[in-house]
Assembly symmetry: D2
């Protein structure tokens, strides 16, 4: 049964595997201090136009998030997140396990606003409460939406004015950047946030995220912290090679484009039937609201997940596409969906 459950069901894009194979028997320096990692970092630095960005390759997203929060905050400081933020809901308390509170606040379509952040700042007024120090956003968000340039600029400003670190979780930043709803470049994002990561796991790699630290005062001793959290891989070159393949000639972006195109096709069918969406569709994650009958019928032929019960008869579901999603499977899905929607 073909699956639209997530964007990490398959291995790596063949070009990534090729480079792994090609360099397999080279002797490389350990712990990420190899030439491939260096080359991959250079590609990314060039892309974001920041020669002095510190880049570290980490094996997964939760690992990256907990590293960022625990490295940059003092013990009494907290991170602000939308309720739907991955760190708030789906990381088994990984942030709290490093000692920090996640202060979660409402956010329309999974996005934070300056106004909501300012309310938190006003409320946390003295030493009896945690001190806000970081703002966590994800782009694309957990609901598949993207931040516009204006929205990010406004967040940047509220963070700058209040000495807050702005951190973007980019597990799906490829899909965000390739979205038709997007109006900002990666280089411009790098001007607005203090730290972010480029997700490899969900866009072409076997695993791996490229963490980019932009603020000078956050760079010091970061490798110590990676090691301490068990995230400094002995064969760091394995991650480096994968990012080398993804960024040497834009593969990362064409893969995300494909994922978006596959999702757009599915969204098209749904829109045509005036199907409502839980959050506006614009990246590789779709959250249509379907009748339970329809869901039952679809589940017989395809795999996907239920996101939230809406009422007695309807639920929001989640369809996810990826670089590996097959055109013919999407066609088949769309055809079946169309037919079913008509019933």
């Amino acid at each position: 049964m073909y699956s639209f459950m997530n964007d990490y069901s398959e291995g790596a894009h063949p070009k990534v595997l090729e480079l792994l194979i090609k360099s397999n028997l080279e002797q490389n320096a350990g712990y990420g201090e190899d030439v491939h990692s260096e080359r991959a970092k250079e590609y990314i630095r060039k892309l974001i136009q920041k020669d002095d960005a510190d880049i570290h390759f980490i094996s997964g997203g939760t690992q990256t998030n907990l590293l960022v929060v625990s490295s940059f905050l003092r013990p009494h400081q907290c991170v602000i997140s939308a309720y739907t933020g991955h760190i708030n809901v789906h990381e088994t308390g990984a942030i709290e396990a490093t000692g920090h509170k996640v202060v979660a606040i409402p956010g329309a379509d999974g996005k934070l606003t300056p106004c909501a952040i300012e309310k938190v700042l006003q409320y946390h007024s003295d030493e009896h409460m945690v001190q806000p120090r970081m703002v966590y956003i994800s782009n694309s968000t957990e609901l598949g939406t993207v931040y516009s340039k204006d929205e990010l600029t406004a967040l940047h400003e509220v963070c700058r004015s209040n000495d807050l670190i702005l951190y973007m979780d980019g597990a799906r930043i490829g899909s965000a950047l390739m979205s038709k709803a997007n109006d900002i470049s990666l280089a411009e994002i790098a001007d607005l946030v203090d730290v972010f990561y480029i997700g490899g796991t969900k866009n072409g790699a076997l695993f791996g995220e490229a963490l980019v630290i932009l603020r000078e005062d956050l760079k010091k001793d970061f490798r110590y912290l990676i090691k301490q959290r068990g995230a400094l891989m002995a064969k760091g070159f394995v991650t480096g090679i994968q990012f080398e393949a993804l960024f040497e000639d834009g593969l990362y972006f064409s893969l995300a484009k494909h994922a978006n195109a596959m999702a757009e096709k599915i969204a098209g069918v749904l829109k045509k039937s005036n199907c409502p969406f839980y959050a506006p569709p614009c990246t590789n994650q779709l959250f249509p609201v379907l009748s339970n009958d329809l869901i039952d019928m679809l589940s017989k032929k395809f795999q996907f997940s239920i996101y939230e019960k809406i009422d007695e008869n309807h639920s929001a579901v989640r369809f996810v596409t990826s670089w590996a999603t097959k055109q013919e499977s999407v066609d088949e899905f769309c055809e079946y969906l169309e037919k079913t929607l008509r019933i």
Copy 2:
């Protein structure tokens, strides 16, 4: 310049890569709940003759160590290790970062003894001191030595009598098992320890360790803890596939055998010249004590590391071989070494 620096300079054994390639475009369940991981676990369970062992694949050794300690100990409990133990020295305080003290004690050739453990127990008598709860050993040790069956049985008994969890770090367990000095099987080890891991990173995999939990009362909720520490990889099947390849027909052991054979050859040359050793050579790590002049000459042609200064004119060095070490490079090294030793 050929390197004997460590056993993680190259990628994965070609057979491991082959299986990764072969299954690359399959759709697999996420988070290690896939068929490959299941198959790999079955191979290992069969090998250790424990049908109910819980097995989890983790990306690296420090990650595995910190998971084991932090999951099984209550906050006031500590783990006992030899001074040379990896958790005591080379993990940037990863164990302490989870809240637990490492009580480090002397151990000849990197090994712990029941007697030394009992001393710790006597000393830690009340609630003003941490409470010993786990014994950490590595096999082979950080000095390349191995535990005999008698030694492990004695450790098992002191742990059982004192309600201590016996944990074996098996980053190099392949090399230990294939050592000529070894007299115990993996199944017998599994009878004597409560939890151990089989290291993939240093013996044929791109990365990955197979953690084996044997004691019933330690199994509960372990996946929560993996997730919380950022160690639950979305594409868990990538690790599963590698262990499948390593254990479906004994590849793991033949790789370790090769590593040992390469080391033995080098050790032979050294022994012939009556070169002293810092610790008895028997696995893929050798610690000969060489004159500084000799070290200088060797360093011009080969890469390796200095382990410890012994006196003004001598140092212990560390030569490491692996599954990937080339016969011809060892021959060349031995020849050069022999020639240099004669000077």
Copy 3:
């Protein structure tokens, strides 16, 4: 200016001081293993009719709360609290600093309900989310309300059915028990919760809380944990003596009764003027909603705190009385209040 800011503005009740003075030059055993502590524990055990309750004296409430949560939970487990819960808002992330998430949920009048707890349990379904393990309630609550016997019984049942530890923060348990709204005895509370504490700081002591552990499986090694968090006072007898004085002949309860009577008097004046309350008044904390003009006038003569802005012209304020609140000051306050309310 007389203060109704809080219930910890004065020192200890004279009878508490007297016993401290009387025993001052005795030589007592350290770390709470003295005869006074033992005697105080016996008084409390008798009161709650639990001969085998483990009792520990801790210096303050936040200290007690963090000890309880961090000692009884495994790393991946969380504690459920009302939004208004002290551990969620006013302890600077003390719980999170020990590694645990506080899952905060709405609760009318500061109280949790079985229904709200069950929702949390349903939502936290797998290892990607923290695992609920404890329910934190306070009695009286942070809004001055009390739990009825029925409410507590229902909470007890949902906790028992779901293997949750029920913990009552009793910083103001004296005032709760002496409330006219209360229908449960301390012994009955001890039948329904697994662990609770009796607050001394806010009811007659210089400082100190008596933590009572009822569940057998929670008792083990607790003194280790007290010591580790820096909460095992060398002169533990100083706390023991205070609780001895408070519980040898019911002083604790008569002090709470006085605090409540003082609050009731103030509440009477407010009710007579049909002043609305943010939460029903029944203990030593009152939360009337007053006009900003009235608040300004009152602030000129008395100290108290603003709790929350209600609308442009009104705020909820907080008046707190205690064992030390003077009858004549309350009279003066009531008179002034009455006069002002009439304007």
Copy 4:
């Protein structure tokens, strides 16, 4: 049976109690923001001649130590201590529970030397090991010895050169300063260390330590950290009042002087008999090495503790005096000791 077990068997010096009684019914601001605390801080600032020192009153020594280490270190940093250091041995892993390794090294008579510290710095060379950031010393030490001005100056210099924070645990700083072996003033100590505390618990108070932060960059947000660790007492004025009494006219020092004089008397008897000492006697803790027979005889009449077994027939014992030690009990003890030593 009279006890020389420790210096925290009795309550507070009568003058301390008097001030507590006198101010008992005042209404004071909470959380240490009261006039008594302010006054006590002023006395101490004047004494150390540092107008801008930040001073916080904490309830106990372990609490203070864990606060200092966890507030000033980043997660990957460690604190260096002598093996005998209180934080290394007798705090149930309180430091590790906040995430930091204690790197323990040998130190003659409980004291650290620049040379031993430099060795640690050399060894901890890269990100695979914790990063030394703080040096913990105690004065007087756990063995009753004191640091000379030269020794402290040398430690100050090695810390300054290597960007290490020098922290002095002053649980018994009164006894150290009043020692005949001492050649440094409190003001001079404050010039050489970055942070230290003045112990009240063991020198006249019911409880309480005055933490003095001297380095500007360590002062920020410290009250948040106190609160987070459960150490911000609601009735902070209770500690403030005690330090007010101890420091308003030098009571603290006369009490320490008395403790030392009592110990000196006992030491005199032992020296006359050429009794060897485990560490040179100079403060209120004595560590004579006695025969087991003698120890048995003494234990029948007095309480004290065995420190360490020396050989089959001898042990080092520990006699402790305090501000509360009675002259007549010391006379009686000396007489009995003298008689017994002669046998």
